[in-house]
């Protein structure tokens, strides 16, 4: 139970432009699947279509190999957690948790049993008689989760459940949700606009923009091998440094943003020279230059000390590039800083189509560390 298949799913309102365009996707049983994208990308709509809260304009939706396009939400055997928690303000925590069981006419004894278990698991046992307005944000969040857990539905949908919490609490809840999902073996479809959340929580991530799938894959794949410019700039923080690049054939150089000149290395052999290119490099690959390997001097325009890391913004043509260096670096604004840029760390994109031409070599050299 719990596998979801989306086949050519589209959504349009009033026969106008598609909000979602031919989505094909399979979500495995027991998987933590994250839908991520900027606001308006259609990710919530997709989730709500799975829930049965939105009509499917065309395409087929299967849950556990059954076509469910026509089924009302209650017959899809799923639970859902909403961004604003959707707690009933006039009901106590206990009544809120048992709301769905009451509606499904689960017998009282069973209700109490499940309530006790869930409340225990979520740490809500002390709060059962409170009203939602007497709860803190995190507590509300837990009640919403408890409501989902208590339903024992194998499929759980979450629509930006953490966006109303402060940063610290959010980090904590991420772990809790993740743990819960594993423990209960739930199939989770999780919507967020926060790529950090996506990266840290998802077994797999789908990046959605403008109603179209940008990329589906494991978080690390998306990070290392973004299939297009959108994914490249969307995933990762700070975002990938980008620049327009031009090949100067005769000089065997790559000119980025008219300022950075990089000697052609063996990595660039298979890059076609006759198209507009965009290159991208992760902040952690813009390395500090040592006496031996300094390739460029760049002007620092901003420095952020994070404690264990230092973020330095460099002026590169019309854009700013960020470098993330481990440790505390004493860099003054306006200083020309020596950096080391390895052309092997560049991702190459076709500026016109936005598609990846070649990902960074780095990935191939250093396999993801597995313990």
């Amino acid at each position: 139970m719990g596998q979801i298949d989306l086949i050519d799913i589209s959504k349009s309102y009033d026969k106008q432009k598609n909000v979602l365009d031919e989505i094909n996707l399979s979500i495995e049983e027991g998987e933590f699947f994250v839908l991520v994208g900027p606001s308006g990308s259609g990710k919530s709509t997709l989730l709500r279509m799975i829930a049965g809260l939105e009509d499917i304009t065309s395409g087929t939706l299967k849950i556990s190999d059954k076509i469910v396009n026509h089924l009302p939400p209650k017959d899809r055997n799923l639970s859902m957690v909403f961004q604003n928690y959707a707690l009933y303000p006039h009901l106590s925590v206990e009544q809120n948790i048992l709301f769905g069981l009451g509606a499904k006419k689960v017998n009282k004894k069973e209700q109490q049993k499940r309530l006790a278990e869930t409340a225990e698991m979520m740490g809500l046992s002390e709060l059962l008689n409170r009203k939602p307005k007497e709860l803190s944000g995190g507590q509300k969040q837990r009640v919403a989760l408890a409501r989902s857990v208590v339903s024992e539905a194998p499929l759980c949908l979450m629509d930006e459940p953490l966006s109303n919490l402060d940063a610290k609490l959010r980090a904590q809840m991420r772990i809790e949700i993740r743990r819960l999902q594993k423990r209960l073996g739930l199939t989770m479809v999780y919507v967020t606009h926060d790529q950090v959340e996506a990266m840290t929580m998802g077994d797999r991530i789908m990046v959605l923009n403008d109603g179209k799938i940008q990329q589906v894959g494991k978080p690390i794949t998306l990070y290392n091998e973004p299939e297009n410019l959108f994914v490249a700039s969307f995933i990762g923080s700070p975002k990938m440094n980008m620049g327009k690049a031009v090949y100067s054939m005769n000089q065997n150089q790559l000119v980025i943003e008219d300022t950075l000149r990089i000697a052609q290395g063996p990595d660039m052999d298979d890059i076609p020279g006759n198209i507009d290119l965009t290159v991208g490099i992760r902040a952690e690959h813009l390395l500090p230059g040592t006496a031996e390997n300094t390739t460029h001097h760049l002007e620092a325009v901003n420095v952020e000390q994070l404690g264990n890391e230092t973020l330095i913004a460099f002026d590169v043509g019309s854009t700013l590039w960020m470098a993330k260096w481990l440790g505390q670096w004493d860099v003054q604004v306006g200083e020309m800083v020596p950096v080391h840029i390895d052309s092997g760390n560049f991702c190459f994109f076709d500026s016109n189509t936005g598609l990846l031409i070649k990902s960074a070599n780095f990935v191939k050299e250093q396999e993801v560390v597995s313990i």
Partner: protein, 271 residues
Amino acid sequence: MTIPITRKIIFYLLLIISSMLVFSPTLMAFVMSFMTNQDIMTGSLPSSLTLDNYVKAFNQFPLLKYLFNSLVVSIVIMLGQLILSSLAAYAFVFLEFKGRDLLFYVFIATMMVPFEASIIPNFHIIRDLGWIDTYPGLTVPFFAMAFGTFLLRQNFKQIPKELREASQIAGMGDFKFYLTVVLPVARTSLVTLGVYGFLTSWNMYLWPLLSTTNDSVRTVQIGLKQLQTQEQLNDWGVIMAGAIIVVIPTLILLFLGQSKLQKGLTEGALK
């Protein structure tokens, strides 16, 4: 924020003067209801205060019965309006179906039809239903209420859509959701509409007169009308006593429900 003392004084002056102006007609009626006709006619200050006017008003008709009828009629209309308006508002907010918006505008348009303009056809309907001199005749025509539907619709719109969706996922039907979630959550606006509905029905005057022929279900406003004469000299003291009797229950209700009423009306008017 602290208010400077001079400004405070100015505001108190303004408040007191305007409250005297606004309240003086009521106050005057109250005083007159204890005055003798002689004093009123000669325009003098009350030389003596008497309860005679009240005694007279109560003796002339079964005023207690009228008050009871008014209470029944107003409560029934109020409940009827609450139920019908909230059902309709629910449909306009939470249900999606073809022609919903058009229907809503039709509802709103009914606010424009003055009741007096269609009072005679309405009377004929009541007659044909055999509802003359009955509580249904006095109440049912007012159950459907565009203003109430409008007010509650504005209010229901504030209820997060997610509540509805959560209950859909939980498998709760519309009617049950309406009963167990929407009504309790929208309590304030229901109270508001209730007070408003009660006040307006209590104050109805032409319809109760027309749709009744005897005292069995008559309301207190008719009593007030009966105190005024057609061909003889008005007994102002008794009339004012009658008016005060009519007004007191609604004033009490208003005083008690004023803050809630204001809150609910604001929500209806603002959003």
